[in-house]
């Protein structure tokens, strides 16, 4: 079993839809949770970063963490064609002298105009 599981999609939605992206994890030592957005042939860019259970909102994006269920989500409201990208969840537990990230495999999202 992988430490982090993420539905690879692809996911296709119409413009304006609410998108829900999800990851589950098995390592209870994970403390920090992130969502990255990766456009084709580019490096991932950090979208959201949380370290506690609950919700964190940033504009159209909401990150949700449920540590008891080992489940995290990213919601995108009023989705736009520019949101079309691969979304990667990532998690970390302090390890040695460098905090390392464990990534999900990514969900490919297409928002149709």
């Amino acid at each position: 079993q992988k430490e982090v599981e993420q539905d690879p999609g692809p996911l296709s939605v119409p413009e304006g839809a609410i998108v829900s992206l999800n990851c589950t994890y098995s390592n209870s030592a994970f403390q920090y949770f992130m969502w990255y957005r990766q456009y084709s042939r580019k490096g991932p860019e950090l979208l959201m970063y949380t370290y506690s259970s609950g919700n964190k909102e940033d504009g159209r994006f909401t990150a949700q963490v449920d540590k008891s269920s080992k489940y995290i989500s990213l919601f995108i409201r009023d989705s736009q064609p520019s949101d079309s990208a691969t979304y990667l969840c990532a998690m970390s537990a302090f390890s040695g002298s460098a905090r390392q990230l464990t990534f999900g495999s990514g969900t490919q999202l297409t928002v149709l105009p």
Binding site: Y32, G43, L46, Y51, L88, A98, R99, Q100
Partner: protein
């Protein structure tokens, strides 16, 4: 502000040839540096990380090596490339917090 540079963007190399990918960070000192590889349809696999000059930790036994000759320079190398080394290589840095900043990546095709 801090910036990360990674080059080249694209590379096509024959099997058995050497490899050198370079990554530099500007605007910070003593960053933690990372090399990741991303295969098509898969997540990012951590290859090496470094917390200081000359300090390299390897996560996956493989045909690759890394070096950190200067504080803000991280190099990924291979003496003889294999077909299985093809992929998208990403350098990343963090000042010690959990949020990583990635470079733009190098797409390596071994033929």
């Amino acid at each position: 502000s801090q910036t990360i540079h990674q080059w080249p963007a694209t590379l096509v190399q024959p099997v058995g040839s050497p490899l050198s990918l370079e990554c530099t960070v500007e605007g910070t000192s003593n960053p933690n540096l990372y090399w990741y590889r991303q295969a098509a349809g898969r997540g990012l696999q951590l290859l090496f990380y470094s917390v200081g000059i000359g300090q390299i930790s390897s996560e996956v036994p493989q045909n690759l090596s890394a070096s950190r000759p200067q504080d803000r320079q991280f190099i990924l190398s291979s003496k003889k490339l294999l077909l299985s080394d093809s992929g998208f290589y990403l350098c990343a840095w963090t000042p010690g917090g959990a949020g990583y900043t990635f470079g733009s990546g190098t797409r390596l095709t071994v033929v």
